[in-house]
């Protein structure tokens, strides 16, 4: 009887203890990134390389997705608003949904899939092929030389990508709403400008995407760094990056939005 109970608690306890241990290591890892960021800031060329990898290479998917999301918002919004006779507010609907929620969140999800996985695989493979060991044996700190620049590259790229996503999305909504469905050009923009507040809507969106950039980069790099040095280990770590960062984005989005509503 005791044995069965003991086994039951052991079965629950082990994953919990493992999880807490991983969380602890992840937090220490995040602290280490910040602590060893000096080199990245002094040698900004390293960060520029990573902005290229995380930002420029994600730009295509962000622009295309942004355009389509905006166009769908235009179509759906028009149909719904038309039933209430207020198709003039289409601009408001498109802009607010993009700037407040869809821009930061969808761009972050795409970023996790495009750039986050690339970071995990790259770091995981560098570990597997002993490149990280080689660095530290050459008296070069891998945290400072490999991890920190990638982190800052992601943090810088994310808000810019989200802004591009929102801007392209608004343009997509404009294309469908004004050019295709005949909403008045002037009303579209003026209603939008009257309703969208720079600080409350746009800056809050930028702030959100900044947080998302931090979280995704940290998760992706941690998973890569922590991956078992085998092909299977790296592929599992890549999957975990997508799952963990997607969940983190959605949960954090709720928390941040709640904070912003209460805070303002």
């Amino acid at each position: 009887m005791m044995g069965a109970v003991g086994r039951f608690f052991a079965a629950i306890g082990h994953p919990v203890i493992d999880g807490i241990e991983r969380l602890g290591f992840a937090s220490r890892f995040f602290g280490l990134i910040l602590l060893r960021s000096g080199t990245s800031l002094l040698r900004f060329g390293l960060v520029i390389r990573e902005i290229f990898a995380a930002g420029v290479l994600s730009m295509l998917i962000i622009i295309v997705s942004g355009l389509f999301v905006g166009m769908v918002l235009g179509l759906q919004g028009y149909r719904t608003l038309q039933t209430y006779g207020s198709a003039d507010s289409l601009g408001v609907l498109v802009a607010l949904s993009l700037v407040r929620e869809l821009g930061p969140v969808v761009a972050a999800l795409l970023f996790a899939g495009r750039a986050g996985t690339a970071m995990t695989t790259e770091v995981g493979l560098m570990k597997t092929t002993e490149q990280l060991s080689a660095l530290s044996m050459m008296a070069v700190d891998p945290m400072a030389r490999v991890i920190a620049p990638r982190f800052w590259g992601g943090v810088i790229a994310m808000p810019l990508l989200a802004a591009i996503f929102s801007a392209v999305g608004v343009f997509g909504g404009y294309l469908v709403g004004v050019v295709l469905l005949g909403v008045d050009d002037g009303t579209f923009w003026s209603q939008m400008q009257a309703a969208v507040d720079f600080r409350e809507d746009i800056l809050n969106g930028v702030f959100k995407s900044l947080i998302f950039g931090c979280v995704i980069s940290a998760i992706a790099l941690f998973e890569g760094y922590d991956a078992p040095p085998t092909a299977e280990g790296v592929s599992r770590a890549t999957t975990r990056t997508v799952v963990t960062s997607s969940l983190a984005i959605l949960a954090l989005d709720f928390v941040l939005t709640a904070f912003m509503f209460i805070g303002v």
Binding site: F52, G55, V56, L160, A163, I164, A167, Q193, A194, I202
Partner: protein
């Protein structure tokens, strides 16, 4: 990849991101149209402000001339004190009337300013004397129903209270 090409691409990317931000700020947002950096404050007291909120627009003749900067309750007069931040470019006569109005039937509430005829102008810290409270839909409806009921009872007893012609 060559260093120069890399820098070029990253430069393009950052520029695109910043352009998108600026476009969001000016074309989508209201930073360009409602730049209220230079304002002066006047106060007004209302019996009831209804659903008026901080940062609601202050309009005169339909033009946004300022925003509500704060709302508080005065426990001496039991009235609401509303502070309005008005754009420095516009001045108003001392006897301007402030009213809380509603955009459309159910829309956002805003403060409307109706200019008076005085030669003296409102200055920072002044108080608008004449105000008109928000029309609260519930009280409007109850008033309407009350009148109906009163009319109905008047008709049934014509002798006691002759209705207005």
């Amino acid at each position: 990849m060559q260093r120069g090409v890399l820098d070029l691409w990253v430069g393009l990317f950052v520029a695109a991101g910043l352009v998108a931000l600026v476009m969001l700020a000016f074309k989508v947002g209201n930073i360009g149209t409602a730049n209220m950096s230079d304002t002066y404050s006047v106060t007004a007291q209302f019996d009831n402000i209804g659903g008026l909120k901080v940062r609601a627009p202050v309009k005169s003749a339909g033009v946004v001339v300022g925003r509500v900067s704060s709302i508080s309750f005065d426990d001496k007069t039991y009235e609401a004190t509303v502070t309005l931040g008005l754009d420095k470019r516009y001045t108003f006569p001392k006897d301007t009337i402030a009213a809380i109005l509603t955009a459309g039937l159910l829309g956002e509430q805003y403060v409307g300013l109706d200019a008076g005829g005085s030669d003296k102008k409102l200055a920072a810290g002044d108080k608008i004397q004449i105000t008109q409270s928000a029309i609260v839909l519930e009280s409007l409806i109850s008033q309407f129903l009350f009148n109906k009921a009163a009319n109905g009872s008047a008709k049934s007893e014509p002798a006691s209270a002759p209705a207005a012609p």
